[in-house]
């Protein structure tokens, strides 16, 4: 996936296998990592709370239970190895071995199964609207009850979202400060820079929702994107902006069609010809429309051009058949005329003979 921000290593890259756990914890604090699941609790504080308790456990939360939000799932599918390494870093921070990974779907489970290490327990949790909640997750994965006035961290259970684990991995192994995160922007998962006005990401619109359909609330266009925000939903403005050729439509196309090139050459007939096959391959999923930051109705253009292309082809075929039949008729008329002339000639000959 294309990252939204060009990252520069702000910190020294650590080899976590040999570093002391204190240094790793300091790194998490320095990088300013907060829980990216929604609450935004500082992660280093959570780790310190856990350290007071023994035995300690790491529980990584990959259960996404809001319909229409798939940011975590996309992160897991694209960065599974990094997340597993992040788990190992956390294990070292806490001084334990073994971590639990809870995922919400069988599909994601299979992604991990290939890479799974011996000491990571993988659990599939049925994704109901509440199953991703911290206490509910601890209950279903570890079978441990946490009272509602307590936090899992106080019991030595470090519950972290997969996005947080990924941020920890990047802070330790790459030296990055978290500057972007995967968000579901109008149903498409993309890397979104943090601390940017929402308007800059989805364009100006009359109604914006920050968050999924359960937890989301109406947002102002000037509101900044946060590390805890996992989805943005906007309605489309009536007037699309001009194409800025960002290429997002091409990136999100599940069939890898050159959508951007198709759109850019929509008025150039010579260039259209080369996209004829692409146009007919498109199954109109609408991913390009959702991804378009200029809110261009690309699908409408594709549909329209496809129908005009079909029409043109049909007309061409019709013309070809008409041409053939016209030539055939001319040949027939010529043949008939020749035969008539021959008959006349032979008649004249025979009449002369008599």
């Amino acid at each position: 996936m294309k990252r939204a921000v060009f990252h520069v290593a702000e910190f020294q890259v650590l080899n976590w296998k040999s570093e002391q756990p204190e240094i790793l914890r300091d790194r998490i604090r320095e990088a300013g990592i907060v829980g990216m699941g929604g609450a935004g609790y500082p992660t280093h504080e959570k780790i310190e709370k856990c350290l007071a308790y023994d035995p300690r456990t790491v529980l990584v939360n990959g259960v996404e239970c809001e319909p229409g939000v798939s940011a975590d799932e996309t992160l897991i599918i694209n960065y599974a190895e990094e997340i597993l390494e992040g788990c190992a870093i956390l294990e070292r921070c806490l001084g334990t071995t073994g971590s639990h990974l809870a995922v919400g779907s069988r599909f994601v489970f299979n992604t991990f199964k290939e890479l799974k290490k011996a000491n990571t327990t993988l659990t599939v949790v049925e994704a109901t609207p509440s199953s991703g909640e911290e206490r509910a997750l601890v209950q279903s994965v570890l079978g441990q009850h946490i009272d509602s006035d307590e936090f899992p961290a106080n019991k030595g259970i470090l519950v972290l979202n997969v996005a947080t684990v990924f941020a920890i991995y990047e802070a330790v192994c790459k030296g990055y400060r978290p500057q972007d995160r995967i968000m579901t922007v109008n149903c498409i998962d993309v890397w979104v820079p943090l601390e940017e006005p929402i308007e800059c990401i989805v364009g100006r619109s009359t109604q914006l929702t920050a968050g999924g359909c359960y937890t989301g609330r109406l947002a102002d266009g000037q509101q900044l994107t946060q590390a805890t925000l996992n989805a943005i939903e906007s309605d489309r403005p009536p007037n699309p902006s001009p194409c800025i050729r960002c290429g997002w439509c091409t990136d999100v196309c599940p069939l890898k069609l050159p959508v951007e090139a198709i759109y850019a050459s929509r008025e150039n007939e010579d260039q259209w010809a080369q996209f004829a096959v692409d146009l007919h391959t498109c199954f109109e999923c609408g991913a390009c429309v959702e991804a378009c930051p200029s809110q261009i109705q690309i699908l409408d253009v594709i549909r329209q051009e496809r129908s005009s292309l079909t029409h043109q082809n049909r007309a061409k075929e019709h013309a070809r058949i008409a041409n053939e039949r016209f030539a055939e008729r001319n040949r027939r008329l010529e043949r008939l005329a020749n035969q008539a002339a021959e008959r006349r000639a032979s008649r004249e000959q025979s009449s002369r003979k008599w």
């Binding site: 007309a315 013309a319 070809r320 008409a322 039949r325 016209f326």
Partner: protein, 170 residues
């Protein structure tokens, strides 16, 4: 060293050059004339709508294409309209002119069979043999092949042929 040592090869190569030039010129004259004419006619034909309606004054699209090559005007095709006229003018390098009248290229015709008297006149004028029927029997139009040239309409003595816009039939 004798002068012949230089003169003989130089003369030989010059002669060879002349021979090749001659051969190339002749072959170009022979081949280009026919092939380029054929090619140009087929290019012109590609741009014509192939209705075979003969409204240009020539019996069909190919005869018109041949006539254009001989110097006929490029704006004689009403079904092609402005677009075809401009394309042809562009292709032939002439001044762009547009036809005075235009007609739809997507129509077809239909015979009202209850009124057909079986005179067979329409079938005789149809340029693409899209009308079938024997004399004194009901005729009908093969919609698949009908180009909508409307040549049959004035021929019908009982006015039983009507125009069907293709959008309504497909």
């Amino acid at each position: 060293m004798a002068v012949e040592t230089f003169l003989i090869p130089i003369g030989f190569v010059t002669l060879l050059g002349f021979l090749y030039a001659l051969a190339l010129t002749i072959s170009q004259r022979l081949l280009q004339k026919t092939s380029s004419d054929e090619e140009l006619i087929s290019h012109i034909e590609d741009r014509l709508p192939q209705l075979q309606c003969a409204q240009c004054g020539f019996p069909g699209c190919r005869p018109y294409a041949e006539a254009i090559l001989q110097g006929a005007s490029t704006d004689l095709c009403p079904p092609g309209g402005e677009r075809t006229a401009l394309e042809l003018a562009d292709l032939m390098g002439r001044d762009p002119t547009v036809p005075l009248s235009t007609m739809s290229t997507t129509n077809a015709v239909k015979i009202i069979e209850s009124e057909c008297v079986g005179c067979n006149r329409c079938a005789q004028v149809c340029p693409v043999d899209a009308i079938v029927g024997a004399e004194l029997f009901t005729h009908t139009v093969l919609k698949k092949y009908c180009t909508g040239c409307e040549l049959c309409i004035p021929e019908c003595p009982v006015d039983c042929i009507e125009i069907v816009p293709e959008s309504a039939t497909t």
